[in-house]
């Protein structure tokens, strides 16, 4: 095999090797080994992913011919941003752990599981075979379950193990249905290869098959995304997960769902997508409004951000449901922007929670700006980025999505989508409301006496700032120069939507 064929397997092998080393090698020195291995593997993975994104390699090998499963990996404009987002966030999580150790200890196992998660996330984004996609989609479940159940926080209703269970059972039920859909497509079409299937654009699949398969695959992906009303696993899982877990859960895991729509459901099953897109759009808009309203009612900051993800992912789904280049481009942009911004938000809230041992808005009280100006400033930055302030990354995704809904693909009812657009616009206003409320309650005003007297409340350390700064820089950069990202995604989206439509 040539170098370029080995590049993507190498990208998966690096974190896998690190994970196996840490999880299987026992011994008392394990914890000392954890961070060097974790940092080494994840930074090598980042370097490899940059190299891969620049050189567009591909790998296509037999794996299990009996099932028609091929080890077919590739990277293009749609997957590259998510791959880079994954490798970056994992590296930042490792760097974050250098100073901020988990209270539950057992660093070696935690780092090993995070690396295993990285394998699953990267594999999902790289897979060009539906069954391979499914296999990697499943790989993340058990590591994430352990991360939540073992290092989580018991302050959620029912405890962390319940939160982890709800997460894994929901997702598994969804992905089992998705497997049925994938098998239906693969057995009807005679191949599981995504490039082949996308090129055919649904030819040879009956309308009924397409609708059924889109429903099954879409349900599996919608649980992961999550789409209202299948989101109820998310708030508890996010709230219970440790900081690094929430960052990866919100930053990357949710994207596996929306990515699946763009990579599999829409291009392979265009008829099914056309039939079901209006429903998807409706659920997406309900999600936007529901997420925003739920946020207004939250007391726990971590939970609030979790619910805000439901709203943001609603925008992504709305963009996909327009079936236009503009809408899907917007969805992909919003995907990456949400990954960066919400990743940052969870880092910041995690830092707040580590210091105060609570994320309850009432208990935290005001005065964050005076008490910890750097942390407070960053929180304000992330909040306005998340509500979609022009000039920051959050803006473009939402705008393109709404623009896509303004002019949906042929065959979709335009007045219907205009209504959806108007409702989603209301969601933007509501999002602004709750983030402004957060900043007013937490940021402004004066601190409670208890916090004033606490000696150990330090502002963000240099270490934390260093870890977070790449995300901040990227949020600004994508806000100012959205063309970078759109130039990468547009040609691929055109191709996936069928012959340069």
């Amino acid at each position: 095999m040539s170098t370029s064929e080995l590049l993507l397997p190498l990208l998966l092998a690096l974190p896998l090797a690190g994970a196996l080393l840490l999880l299987l090698a026992g011994g008392p020195d394990g914890d000392r080994l954890a961070l060097p291995v974790g940092l080494g593997a994840s930074s090598l993975a980042l370097a490899t992913s940059v190299w891969a994104a620049a050189s567009n390699p591909a790998t296509d090998e037999r794996w299990v011919p009996e099932l028609g499963l091929r080890f077919h990996l590739g990277i293009d404009g749609v997957s590259a941003p998510l791959v880079l987002l994954t490798t970056l966030l994992v590296l930042l999580c490792m760097a974050y752990l250098v100073r901020v150790r988990p209270e539950a200890g057992r660093l070696r196992a935690l780092v090993g599981l995070l690396l295993l998660l990285e394998v699953g996330m990267l594999g999902t984004f790289l897979a060009l075979d539906m069954l391979l996609f499914f296999v990697f989609f499943e790989v993340v479940l058990i590591p994430m379950w352990f991360v939540i159940a073992q290092w989580g926080d018991d302050q959620v209703p029912g405890g962390r193990v319940r939160a982890a269970n709800v997460f894994i059972f929901y997702t598994l039920l969804g992905s089992a249905l998705m497997l049925l859909g994938i098998l239906l497509v693969g057995l009807s079409a005679g191949t599981f290869d995504l490039t082949e299937l996308a090129a055919r654009g649904g030819a040879g699949l009956s309308h009924r098959t397409q609708v059924l398969a889109f429903l099954a695959i879409g349900l599996g992906l919608a649980v992961k995304t999550p789409m209202w009303p299948l989101h109820s696993w998310l708030p508890d899982a996010h709230t219970a997960a440790p900081t690094v877990g929430s960052v990866l859960l919100a930053g990357v895991l949710l994207k596996m769902g929306t990515y699946g729509f763009v990579r599999i459901a829409v291009p392979v099953l265009p008829d099914g997508a056309h039939t079901l897109a209006p429903f998807l759009g409706a659920f997406a808009v309900v999600g936007i409004l529901y997420g925003a309203l739920a946020c207004l009612a939250q007391r726990d900051l971590k939970r609030l951000i979790a619910f805000s993800s439901v709203g943001h992912m609603g925008f992504v789904l709305l963009g996909i449901s327009t079936l236009t280049t503009t809408g899907i481009n917007g969805a992909l942009f919003a995907n990456v922007a949400h990954g960066l911004i919400t990743g940052l938000l969870f880092f910041l809230v995690g830092a707040l929670k580590d210091r105060h041992h609570t994320a309850d808005l009432e208990v935290l009280g005001g005065g964050l700006y005076e008490r910890m100006p750097r942390l407070g400033g960053l929180l304000a930055f992330a909040a306005v980025a998340s509500l979609g302030l022009p000039g920051l990354a959050g803006f473009w995704g939402e705008m393109l999505t709404l623009l896509g809904a303004f002019d949906p693909a042929g065959g979709l009812s335009r007045p219907y989508y205009l209504v959806l657009m108007a409702l989603a616009g209301t969601g933007v206003v509501l999002t602004t409301t709750y983030f402004v409320k957060v900043l007013r309650v937490v940021g402004q005003g004066t601190s409670f006496r208890a916090w004033k007297d606490a000696v150990l409340l330090r502002d963000a350390s240099t270490h934390e700032l260093v870890v977070w700064s790449p995300v901040v820089v990227l949020v600004v950069a994508f806000g100012l120069w959205p063309g970078w990202l759109l130039a990468a995604t547009t040609p691929v989206v055109r191709r996936l939507l069928g012959g340069g439509a």
């Binding site: 299990v64 009996e66 058990i142 059972f169 497997l179 057995l187």
Partner: protein, 490 residues
């Protein structure tokens, strides 16, 4: 008039013959050995089984048939004993599974003071039955083989003589077995009565009548399912499984849940796909309902278990449901398409379930109650053993890293999706999620913090136990990366 003297293909019948002779030899040898040396019989049994496994190798290339009746006119010759790919695959699974059971039994026999000669004799006799079952192609050989598998099993279960639970377990096994065998024989006699044939291929030919279905035959086919329903512990013939598994020595439970169950499945598969393919529209939907009920009952009951062997018993009931799914998806004219999926799942199940049973046997030596609570924190003291169990459970649940189980489930899912039996696929999808609940809880408790004051078991592992755990873990890991050997058939 063709000659009544037949030439027997000795190569084809060599594996079961070797095992049968070995069984008698060990029974006799045991009486001549001083008590201190009796351990050697166990190793001889293992080596003999490996030898029988070796005897399968020369049979790989071509189909061997023996004990045939000649054809006349348009009727083709039919054979009672056929070694084809299906036979070989199952015989290999039976022999390899039996080797692991023998390894696990060595310490059990010594520690529980079970008479070794009798134990090895009964075990190998039952294995002989399983081997001939896979090769039998007529109803009589099928029934006799099935009984040869079952009868020694009753005694094996009861061999722990001082333990009252063993006798109860054996009695339950015996009663359910006798009843289901009687029902099956009644069904088969109806079929014989109508068709006048005992050879499966000839039954298939005479059933293949485009006219309306003979009601007696329909009844016969359904009743014949009962006997095998018992062997594979399908609902409603599953009640014996939890009590019997719990009361029996743990390696015997492993034997019942893997080797004897595999034998049941091969018998069922042969009967349905070689004997009754024209009636697939009768037995297919019946099996589909059985499969759905079996997996649901098994999984729901497993959720409530507190004891390791009972949990595995219910889980193996649920897994039987998964194995029945492809047969349940069979339709007339497409019977051949679904068989490979069942074969693949039985093979994968054999590997992963033996992996789980190996560790459970090991822990049971130190914690006779074998409660799930006894496993808490096992990874602290015995990381490799805990990993072996966790991996086996991940395989049974069908989630990565247990890719073997995942691939096996994909194979099984394909059959109903391909044949358009969507409801069965959806029921199975829901069941996979229920199943995960107990597998995951158990696997996670291995890595949980031990209760304050509790000491997770830590021990010296004997050679035989170590090889059993290592071989099953190695097989499961290897087949997770390269599952071709198991899926080759499909």
């Amino acid at each position: 008039m063709p000659s009544a003297v037949q030439s027997v293909d000795w190569a084809a019948v060599a594996p079961p013959t070797l095992v049968a002779v070995l069984a008698l030899f060990l029974l006799v040898l045991d009486t001549f050995l001083p008590p201190a040396r009796r351990q050697v019989t166990g190793w001889l049994a293992a080596i003999g089984l490996l030898g029988a496994l070796g005897l399968l190798v020369p049979l790989v290339d071509e189909k061997h048939e023996t004990f045939c009746v000649p054809g006349h006119g348009l009727v083709l010759p039919s054979c009672s004993y056929v070694v084809d790919e299906l036979t070989l695959v199952f015989q290999a699974l039976v022999l390899a599974g039996a080797v692991v059971v023998v390894l696990l039994s060595m310490d059990t026999v010594r520690l529980a003071r079970i008479p070794p000669g009798e134990y090895w004799f009964l075990l190998l006799a039952s294995v002989t039955g399983a081997l001939t079952l896979a090769a039998s192609r007529d109803v009589l050989t099928l029934v006799v083989s099935l009984e040869v598998v079952s009868l020694p099993a009753f005694a094996l279960v009861a061999l722990q003589r001082f333990d009252g639970r063993g006798s109860e377990a054996a009695l339950k096994l015996f009663l359910v077995s006798v009843v289901s065998t009687a029902v099956m024989l009644f069904g088969l006699s109806l079929i014989y009565g109508v068709t006048g044939q005992v050879f499966l291929d000839r039954i298939a030919t005479s059933l293949d009548d485009p006219g309306p279905k003979e009601p007696l035959l329909v009844v016969g086919v359904i009743l014949a399912l009962a006997g095998f329903g018992f062997k594979v512990a399908a609902v409603p013939f599953h009640f014996w499984a939890p009590d019997t598994y719990e009361g029996a020595p743990v390696p015997v439970a492993a034997y019942l849940s893997v080797v004897s169950k595999a034998a049941g499945f091969v018998g069922l598969a042969l009967l349905l796909t070689v004997g009754f393919p024209p009636y697939a529209d009768i037995w297919g939907p019946t099996i589909a309902v059985l499969a759905a009920v079996t997996m649901t009952v098994g999984n729901l009951a497993a959720l409530r278990q507190r004891q390791a062997v009972r949990l595995l018993a219910w889980s193996s009931v649920a897994q039987s449901g998964y194995m029945l799914v492809p047969l349940g998806a069979a339709r007339v004219g497409h019977v051949e398409d679904v068989l490979p999926a069942t074969v693949a799942y039985v093979l994968a199940y054999g590997v992963m379930n033996l992996g789980a049973f190996s560790v459970v046997t090991l822990v049971g030596r130190h914690r006779p109650a074998n409660l799930l609570a006894d496993y808490r924190g096992l990874a602290r003291t015995e990381p490799l053993t805990a990993f072996a169990l966790a991996f086996a459970l991940a395989c049974l649940a069908g989630l990565p890293p247990g890719l073997l189980g995942l691939f096996a489930k994909v194979v099984v899912f394909r059959a109903p999706v391909d044949q358009g039996v969507g409801w069965l696929a959806v029921v199975m999808a829901v069941n996979v999620v229920i199943g995960l609940a107990y597998y995951l809880t158990w696997a996670a408790s291995l890595y949980a913090r031990p209760e304050p004051g509790a000491h997770p078991p830590s021990y010296r592992i004997s050679w035989s136990d170590g090889i059993a755990v290592g071989v099953t873990l190695g097989a499961a890991v290897w087949l997770s990366v390269a599952p071709g050997l198991v899926l080759r058939f499909s």
